[in-house]
Amino acid sequence: MQAIRGLHFSTRSGCRYYYDDCSGLCYPCPTGLRTAIERSCEGEDAGAEEPQAQWGRFVQARRRSLGAFSQDTHSFLPPRLDEKQLRHKLLTTGFRQLLLVVTDACNLNCKYCVFSDHYPYRHDRPKKIMDIDLALAATDVYLNQATRIRRRNPAHPIAVTFYGGEPLLNYPVIEAVIKHVLSRGITDTIFSISTNGTLLNENIADFLVEHNVSIAVSVDGPEITHDTNRVFKDGTGSFELTLRNIDKLLSRHPDYPYLIFLVTYDNGTNLQEVRDFFRSHDRFQKRLMVFSQVSPHFTNYYSRFAPEQSLAFSQAANAIKSDMFREGARYGHNDAMLDFLFGLPLYLCQSRRILGNSGRPGIPSTSTCLPGEKLCVVPTGAIEVCEKAPGLRIGTVETGLDFGLIKETIDSYNHTITSNCATCPITRLCGTCFATFWSGSAFRFPSPKFCHARTSSATSVLEDLYSLLEVNPSYFSDSRTIDERLFPRLKALTY
């Protein structure tokens, strides 16, 4: 029996659907279609006289014209990219973002930090602070390639992001890099920074605002929630200082559009309190909020929560999510938690790629980017794949990208991870990437049942999405317009 990549799911109303991963399309699935799919898996075609014949033809027509209901798992595997092809690909479409880890140091001691003892990642680099010369050299390496690519594709983005540790601990480098980029005549660069906000004084804020830097400040919710995890080295909370600095920025630049809030939660978070907090304060209105769960992979962090606590968290989440299904509920209505924590997974599911190949060239599945699309430069001068995969090196500032190393990385990823995806029913919905599977020293699955859980989660998202759309077909229809009006250019960087 040969599986067809896809899955069956039902909505709250009892309607049954089939999600076809080969094409990305979803079909209402009456019994006849279900039978035809099962027969197709078994290599049988419905006879011309049988009642299911029409569904057999239905499946065949879509297989022929759209590639749906396909059993051919061999064509799923992409042609292996050789180093030359990889080089060509990256030199024509790579270099989309430079991420400068300007310091590994941080003035906070957040309990869920990926560089804490709960995770296998380490900031054990011999050098903690990036010096100006290295930062400018890295910027030039990136800009030389990105501007060259722009000659062929004027829409090619140029984006420079400052990351840490706490990047504002090395503010002179940030200022120097921004001025350097502008001195090269590149005026449409997307600058962004992720900060805890405690060092965001008036001078720094004014400079960042003047240069349209997207400022992403971490705020986990009300004071009690925020200060549970986001604390200084002496254990005192950072909420008051962070909020004071945000308010100062907004008082000087009330209409500044490029201020984002990063919200991190875990099973101990009181979601309803967090929701109310963000809904009730003006400073958060019409701002892009990015909700992230404390990473559950390769960690013992979640062992601190009792099963009852995790259960209560799930129940609270479901209670809030049910508000999406109430009559008249709509996107972009001053409820960031509903829009971005619960709505975004559904929206992304609805925005899945339809037809064509999922994945990147040479990487058949998962949603990972191609190493070299983003360049993460650390204080030692090494170029890594991503800030979320510490230690996964793909070159150096001095020698540039190492295409051989990138190929090895892709091969290792394909060998360990995507070779398991040939029969996966959710390759277009998976949402995983290098960072998901990077354990600090090698790629591996975070847990034996990881893919099973991922499929369950995707099924649940499909069930919620279609339940929502049955009740309110236009829930997301205007979301893109709303987002583009409210968050010009910001949202692109958050996907």
Partner: protein, 439 residues
């Protein structure tokens, strides 16, 4: 399931179009590449089923026999158009491939595929149909109002400026170049120089569209540049053509040039326009001309092209026809792109437009910011890419099958009233109504 529990739904890859004129409709079954035409009574039954009525209730509501309605529903199921379900479901319409690609950071970059150049406003002829005349008889494709050309300076495009624009386009990967010149004679030197430059810049496809015969220097340059020369025909013989373009000897000059080009192994084409004096479908003289000259392509003005042309001797030459039969992939593409996607138009004033009928809306000029700067700023994007959702004014519009969110139509939107629809000539209204199922 019992009929009372049944809800009928079309599949997401079946497109329904209604003909408001007579209440009939059409179902396009994209994966099956089939079209089902529906009588008004069948459309009424579909409406009833969509309201959630059972087949029997739908029969009662529409005055049809219950058996007829059940048979109709069974036919729709068997043909692959839709299915019956036990509860109302959500059907996701077939849509563009990757909505996230429209986000700036993921934008793949606009691909300039063809650059059109109108190097001169001058012409020795005074064709009644000419789109550059304000009182022309030939209407633009959408039947929209003809933009005033008074602001266009009566000067030719500078050769160096044109070359600069061509070079930028070539650097951006554009491979096709089309010159539109009513009469090459007055600007022969510019045309020759441009054809030579196009060849040097490596354009893979160079086309010169003209309404007259060519002078020797242009003929030689065209052959040297391996250009396709497309002649506009208003009639199938000298009597009809010359009368329409109001200059004697034009038809003969065109045919003479065509033969000379063929001798030089160059390619020729014909762009046939409706002048009101020839029925291209039935003209024996025209068919004889095609058989004799074997043009590489024949384009028929899309408003006047008729389905019946498919069955004629020249059907193999039709490069473009509206209301094509459905095809899933081309339909998907059409959801994403407008008819001007990938094309820029350069006027003789050096301004750059996204459509010849949008001369009130230049998106830049060759001088500033140049082709490169235009694409870098994404100025073409609103015209090349269809919006994800229809503008509120356009929802439910009966002209959508024809307009297809044409950027000209968008530009002419005026409040809740679409100028396109209001100004649509009756002849075109009738044609579109007759093709209401067009996708």
């Amino acid at each position: 399931m019992t009929p009372e529990q049944m809800f009928f739904s079309l599949h997401g890859d079946t497109i329904f179009r209604r003909n408001d004129k007579d209440g009939s409709g059409a179902l396009y079954l994209l994966p099956e590449a089939k079209v089902l035409t529906l009588e008004p009574s069948a459309v009424a039954v579909l409406d009833a089923l969509w309201r959630g009525l059972s087949p029997d209730a739908a029969a009662e509501a529409t005055g049809r026999k219950p058996d007829d309605v059940r048979s109709f529903v069974a036919m729709l199921e068997i043909s692959g158009a839709g299915c019956c379900l036990s509860a109302p479901c959500y059907v996701e319409p077939l849509r563009a491939c990757d909505p996230l690609a429209s986000l700036p950071h993921f934008r793949a970059g606009s691909e300039l595929q063809r650059l059109h150049v109108f190097p001169t406003p001058r012409c020795t002829m005074s064709c009644s149909h000419c789109t550059r005349r304000e009182n022309a008889t030939l209407k633009p494709c959408m039947g929209c109002s003809r933009p005033s050309r008074k602001r266009v300076a009566e000067v030719d495009l500078g050769a160096s400026l044109l070359t600069r624009g061509m070079r930028e386009a070539a650097e951006l990967g554009c491979e096709s170049l089309t010159f539109h010149v009513g009469d090459c004679g007055p600007i022969a030197e510019l045309v020759v120089r441009s054809l030579k430059a196009a060849s040097e810049l490596g354009f893979g496809s160079v086309e010169l569209i003209t309404g007259t015969g060519l002078v020797d220097s242009v003929l030689r340059a065209a052959v040297g540049a391996h250009a396709l020369i497309t002649f506009q025909l208003l009639g199938a013989n000298s009597a009809t053509h010359d009368a329409a373009c109001r200059r004697r000897g034009t038809f003969d000059a065109i045919i003479r040039s065509a033969r000379l080009l063929l001798k030089g192994n160059a390619s020729i084409g014909f762009y046939c326009l409706r002048s009101g004096v020839v029925d291209w479908d039935k003209s024996e003289a025209w068919l004889e001309l095609v058989r004799d000259l074997r043009p590489r392509r024949v384009v028929l003005d899309r408003i006047v092209t008729r389905r019946s042309l498919r069955n004629t001797a020249i059907s193999g030459y039709i490069a473009e026809e509206s209301f094509s039969p459905p095809d899933a992939l081309s339909y998907l593409k059409s959801l994403q792109q407008t008819c001007v996607s990938g094309q820029l138009f350069v006027g003789s004033d050096g301004y750059v437009y996204t459509c010849p009928y949008l001369i009130r809306e230049p998106i830049g000029s060759l001088e500033r910011p140049g082709i490169y700067g235009i694409l870098a700023d994404g100025r073409e994007d609103p015209f090349w890419r269809k919006p994800i959702s229809h503008p509120a004014e356009c929802r439910g519009c009966r002209w959508n099958p024809a307009c297809n969110l044409c950027p000209v139509a968008k530009a002419l939107l005026s409040g809740a009233n679409c100028a396109v629809a209001n100004q649509m000539p009756p002849r075109i209204q009738e044609r579109i109504s007759n093709n209401a199922g067009g996708v």
